[in-house]
């Protein structure tokens, strides 16, 4: 691992992003320490996905810093060059709301090919994939194609695929929002298990009980800013801001 040992695994400082002159992120700063789970909650359109997408370089931020292990991927709105950015990509994984598995690949190939393209041998990549499938409760499904799996199984394959790259941090963008309610549990269980193993994670979610139970810190975003953040018990049970209270009221009962 490169970088400063004591630096947070992931940090953004004063990050800004506008779409067609409409600000979507306004001076967002946050950092994620090794082994922590940070949940991001907030109403639709508040910029949660945009924040994750900027952090994972899928969206180009307009200003601010992005750091991994204290190393700048972007500084004052200027990104490092393409080759360096590629190296940063190997430090994180991203799990999408709608899985984005490769439909023409078997489950095994979905998980094993990305590491192989980075130079890992087929044998090792497939061993790793099989181990991850076991961990995800999907042993025996390696020959299946994504369309033959339930949504919950597909999302677990997507998590295995991200983990196969040995990321230092995993980002989740509403990993259960595309699932039928009876399937969310199996995915949340897997994420919870990763939390227990001290995987560093940032999870955008609408699953409040889950966020409360699993996170070390909860961030409430609205209108492109962080309105409130803190210990989950505090944010959920004793929110300081009216905007937070308003938002959480919808999730009561």
């Amino acid at each position: 691992m490169n970088g400063n040992k004591n630096a947070p695994i992931f940090a953004v400082n004063n990050i800004q992003k506008s779409f067609a002159d409409v600000p979507v992120l306004e001076d967002i700063s946050l950092s994620v320490e090794q082994g922590n789970v940070v949940s991001i909650i907030g109403p639709s359109g508040s910029g949660k996905s945009t924040l994750l997408r900027c952090g994972t370089f899928l969206e180009t931020a307009d200003g601010g810093d992005i750091l991994y292990n204290g190393e700048y991927a972007m500084k004052d709105g200027v990104y490092v060059d393409k080759a360096a950015l590629r190296k940063f990509r190997s430090r994180f994984g991203l799990v999408f709301q709608n899985f984005n598995l490769f439909p023409h690949y078997s489950v095994l190939k979905n998980i094993a090919e990305p590491p192989m393209l980075q130079g890992v041998s087929r044998e090792e990549a497939e061993d790793r994939a099989m181990g991850l499938l076991r961990k995800m409760g999907l042993e025996g499904r390696e020959r299946a194609y994504p369309s033959q799996l339930s949504g919950g199984q597909q999302q677990r394959v997507a998590i295995a695929r991200a983990l196969a790259m040995n990321p230092e941090i995993l980002f989740f963008d509403e990993p259960t929002s595309a699932l039928d309610p009876e399937l969310t549990g199996e995915v949340l269980k897997v994420i919870r298990q990763l939390a227990e193993e001290h995987m560093t994670m940032v999870v955008v979610t609408h699953e409040m009980p889950f966020a409360k139970a699993v996170s070390n810190r909860v961030i409430f975003m609205a209108g492109g800013v962080i309105v409130e953040q803190g210990d989950p018990l505090q944010v959920f049970d004793d929110p300081q801001e009216e905007r937070t209270r308003q938002f959480l009221r919808v999730f009561e009962k």
Partner: protein
């Protein structure tokens, strides 16, 4: 002329018909991809010019394009009309079909969700790896029915080569029909095309089946 003699005579042109068919596919299938990629270029000038060229190729009769490629150089620059007309015929066919294939490819490529590109990017795939491994195989499967349509049309379109008197099967048939004042050669030609396309359907069916390993 006996019926058998007629069929034999027309069969001699069948080789040329096949030559047009296979050479056109050989050149137009890849050329179509190049045109599709230019058409989707982020550079607006390149995309615009390509779009115009495609619309000309699709908006004017193939027959006219055949005449233009075969005789255009003679009228414009005084070049000799090539003795072997296969060359201009295949050039005209390949360019024309490439325009159609380009639009099919473009439709296929644009139908792949953005999420596939994003997943690949996050997983460290290069642009080329993403295209070759993730996008193209999915595009191929999706566009197979449209490609089959074009290939079937191509079989029939080879008969257009008669406009520049290239001695393929239909041109020979037409000449026999004229000299014998008989309709029979056209019936024979119809049967030839029908059998040819039955084979094409069979082969394309096999390819589609091979691509059918996932939903």
């Amino acid at each position: 002329m006996t019926f058998t003699a007629m069929v034999l005579k027309m069969s001699e042109g069948l080789g040329r018909t096949c030559a047009i068919f296979f050479l056109t596919l050989l050149f137009s299938l890849p050329l179509g991809m190049v045109i599709a990629l230019l058409r989707m270029s982020k550079n607006r000038v390149i995309a615009g010019i390509t779009r115009f060229i495609i619309s000309v190729l699709r908006g004017t009769p193939l027959m006219l394009q055949l005449l233009a490629v075969t005789y255009g150089p003679y009228y414009l620059f005084g070049f000799n009309v090539p003795r072997n007309k296969l060359i201009p015929v295949v050039i005209a066919f390949a360019i024309n079909y490439a325009a159609y294939f380009a639009e099919i490819y473009r439709g296929g490529i644009e139908s792949i969700s953005k999420g596939q590109y994003e997943a690949a990017e996050v997983l460290g795939y290069t642009k080329l790896q993403t295209f070759m491994r993730i996008i193209l195989p999915q595009v191929m499967k999706r566009i197979m029915p449209s490609v089959t349509n074009e290939v079937v049309t191509l079989v029939k379109d080879t008969s257009m080569a008669f406009t520049v008197s290239y001695q393929e099967m239909f041109t020979i048939g037409k000449q026999i029909a004229n000299s014998q004042t008989s309709f029979l050669p056209f019936v024979v030609a119809g049967i030839f095309y029908f059998v040819f396309n039955a084979l094409v359907d069979y082969v394309m069916g096999l390819i589609e089946k091979r691509l059918d390993y996932y939903d």
